[in-house]
Symmetry: C2
Subunit: 175 residues, 2 copies
């Protein structure tokens, strides 16, 4: 059920994702949702975002496992993100972004999104500081990738993401 919700939220945002829709897609009755998620929709959305973010983190781990330079690892991650987006018919991008933009400023949900981004940035920081690059680059690479995910999605083409791979390399070499 979390998986179904995560998918729907990534496609159309948490506000547009009704619990009826989630229940229908999951083939689950109403009672089950409120049994497993007493917090209702808020709790389900939070779990779905966590779940979705976990899938992306898995992609990052896979990319890192193959070794190579930071640029290599990040390049493979971006490729994996682009593949995922393309295969979904450009309905999937970042499972956090849509929720982050819909969440009220300062809300619990916004805090969760911020935590997830902080985690990803820390991972990037680890990669690039290991090569002696300035750690400030981590946040900028994250921003670049998030922006490229957004543009690739609305344009329904992986070009921005593919281009980001070389931009990352340029940034790492220039610093």
């Amino acid at each position: 059920m979390i998986g179904v919700a995560a998918e729907a939220i990534e496609e159309m945002g948490p506000a547009a994702t009704g619990i009826n829709e989630v229940l229908r897609r999951a083939g689950a009755p109403r009672g089950s949702l409120y049994f497993h998620f007493p917090g209702g929709k808020d709790e389900l959305v939070a779990e779905a975002v966590r779940f979705g973010a976990g899938r992306i983190t898995e992609l990052a781990v896979t990319a890192a496992d193959e070794g190579g330079s930071a640029a290599d690892v990040i390049g493979r991650l971006i490729k994996a993100l682009a593949d995922r987006q393309e295969e979904s018919g450009f309905t999937k991008g970042c499972p956090v972004a849509g929720t982050a933009l819909d969440a009220p400023a300062g809300s619990e949900l916004a805090g969760l999104c911020a935590e997830i981004y902080d985690g990803w940035e820390a991972t990037l920081r680890g990669l690039i500081t290991a090569e002696g690059r300035p750690e400030a680059l981590a946040g900028q690479i994250l921003a670049l990738v998030e922006g490229a995910l957004l543009l690739s999605r609305v344009r329904a083409t992986r070009a921005p993401l593919d281009a980001a791979t070389v931009t990352v390399r340029t940034l790492l070499e220039a610093a």
Copy 2:
């Protein structure tokens, strides 16, 4: 009324923005909405996004009017965006991003968002090709700024945007 809708949509996304809320904030009756926007909510959202995008374009024009190098102009634009975001209590970011992520892939609304991004990218391309920089950078700078707007918003700090200014300079100099 368009202005009110644009503000609400930028804050919490189009799906979460009810027309009742818009009417209440604008102090307008229901009938007026369907007189001026026979297309209903869809039409209002489209107009609001167009309106919001126009405000950002104005910021870009202002930044360009002051002259200087492409990096100078883009830096001033980013600063203006950060100021705007900070002044709003980090509720405002990009007036298009939230809608772009909520819009169904391939929908009319998604097309509108893509057009707006294309326009902004074309403006950036004009700026940087005038200095002989590769035009492919335009899309990447746009992605970087969009991503920085997203991160700045969820973190409620202008740091990512401020950092983007120097990243843009690095990118322009490295190419």
